[in-house]
């Protein structure tokens, strides 16, 4: 499961952890995050993330 890094603020999306602040369950792949999902630290969209 690939991790993705926010190119704006450096936040790492780890699929093993998910994102409880937006109701994303552990095990959710980055590609399966909804389009409405945003970086929990700085608020930018998925398009600003790159694979680690």
């Amino acid at each position: 499961m690939d991790k993705y890094r926010c190119t704006v603020c450096g936040y790492i999306y780890d699929p093993a952890v998910g994102d409880s602040t937006q109701g994303v369950k552990p095990g959710t792949l980055f590609k399966d995050l909804p389009d409405s999902w945003i970086c929990p630290d700085c608020g930018v969209g998925k398009d600003m993330f790159e694979k680690v």
């Binding site: 704006v8 603020c9 450096g10 630290d41 700085c42």
Partner: protein, 397 residues
């Protein structure tokens, strides 16, 4: 005011803005003004750390001239892109065109998008060092504290941290150090600054403080970009930041409301009486008459929020709506709330407010209290009960 040596060969060369009353547009009221702190480090090489708002460029340049000729500046460290710290950069670079600007990769992009100048720019990353002579500067990237470009500069020889906006206060004073000013006023401004600017970034604040603590670098002085320098008790502000960043709360309630013909205000007062009689500390604000920046400051460590609005056009009133939108952006955690308000025929405000509070992540711990038109004796008693029940629930949590 003149330049001031804060450590051997390190000078405050900033500016005091006594008269600014609104900051970042109208997002922050600065009733005690502010300062823009810039620091000049004189060694074999000369570095200027940050600048000031553009309208204070002359003041900055005059202060630098008290110490050296500005053309001798070798490096301008840009810890942060925002205009209140980079505003004088174009004027400074005209005086020392060969100087190198130093900052993060995001800082380079951001400065270009502000000034469209091709200055000689050196990108630095965490742990990079810049040797000035006897003194060294090391850098620590601090993205989203509070912009993507933010960075801290540290001078190990002087055990001095220059964290730009972190640990700042909007507080204009003739004194430059923490121990020289009224402590309650200082902490009042530091609290307001955290609540209105850094609160939503609390997770990052905690991580960054832990990171700095793990680096095991001694910090004897913290010189932020606004307000006084933490020389006498830097631990005081770090302790406070840890407490705020953990969203630690006190058993206090902030009641914020907006009223049309006074009925919702009657409710707010009676509810507050119930809370006070239950032994809680209460702050009451009619949001249309209050300074929003101050209200947020009061909410930073309050465990309970009671929000009220009359119903207008089947929803809440507009000033409280704007306020709640602002609060939502601050992402408060571990808070409990309830909602009240008067209505005429169909309600709507209570549901509206509950929805935005839920979106904010605030738990609604008791059903909202709506009263038609003006409350009678029994309904006023219900308001008192509403306050008492809320106090009880808060104590139980």
């Amino acid at each position: 005011m003149n330049a001031l040596e804060i450590k051997k060969d390190i000078y405050w060369v900033g500016a005091v803005d006594w008269n600014v009353r609104n900051f970042h547009g109208h997002t922050y009221t600065t009733k005690r003004g502010t300062t823009y702190n810039a620091y000049l480090i004189v060694d074999d090489k000369i570095a200027l750390v940050d600048t000031v708002l553009s309208s204070f460029s002359t003041e900055l340049i005059e202060k630098i001239k008290e110490i050296i000729h500005p053309e001798k500046i070798d490096y301008v460290i840009a810890n942060h892109v925002e205009a209140d710290h980079s505003g004088a950069l174009p004027e400074i670079m005209k005086l020392c065109p060969k100087a190198k600007v130093i900052g993060t990769a995001k800082c380079k992009e951001g400065l270009y998008k502000h000034y469209y100048e091709d200055w000689d720019f050196q990108i630095v990353r965490t742990h990079d060092k810049l040797k000035l002579g006897r003194k060294t500067l090391t850098f620590l990237e601090a993205p989203m504290l509070h912009w993507p470009d933010s960075m801290f500069t540290y001078c190990p020889e002087e055990e001095l941290l220059l964290p730009n906006d972190a640990f700042g206060q909007h507080y204009a004073t003739s004194e430059r150090f923490d121990g020289e000013v009224d402590q309650s006023m200082l902490m009042d401004e530091a609290t307001k600054y955290y609540g209105n600017i850094l609160w939503p970034l609390s997770t990052l604040v905690l991580k960054k403080i832990e990171e700095v603590q793990k680096l095991n670098i001694p910090i004897k002085m913290i010189a932020p970009s606004h307000g006084v320098i933490w020389r006498d008790d830097p631990a005081k502000i770090i302790t406070a930041y840890l407490k705020w960043a953990k969203n630690e709360t006190k058993l206090r309630v902030v009641v914020v409301y907006e009223t049309m013909w006074g009925a919702t205000e009657k409710m707010a007062r009676k509810i507050s009486q119930g809370l006070i009689d239950s032994g809680l500390e209460v702050k009451l604000f009619d949001i249309t008459q209050s300074d929003r920046t101050e209200v947020i400051k009061e909410m930073l460590d309050a465990k309970g929020y009671l929000i009220g609005s009359s119903t207008h056009n089947n929803g809440m009133l507009t000033t409280i709506a704007g306020f709640l939108e602002f609060l939502k952006g601050l992402k408060p955690k571990n808070r409990l709330a309830s909602v009240f308000g008067s209505y005429g025929w169909a309600g709507g405000a209570i549901k509206n407010i509950e929805n935005i509070l839920k979106e904010t992540g605030i738990e609604i711990i008791q059903p909202g209290l709506g009263i038609q038109y003006l409350p009678d004796e029994i309904e006023l008693k219900n308001c008192d009960e509403f306050g008492r029940n809320f106090a009880q629930r808060l104590k139980e949590e």
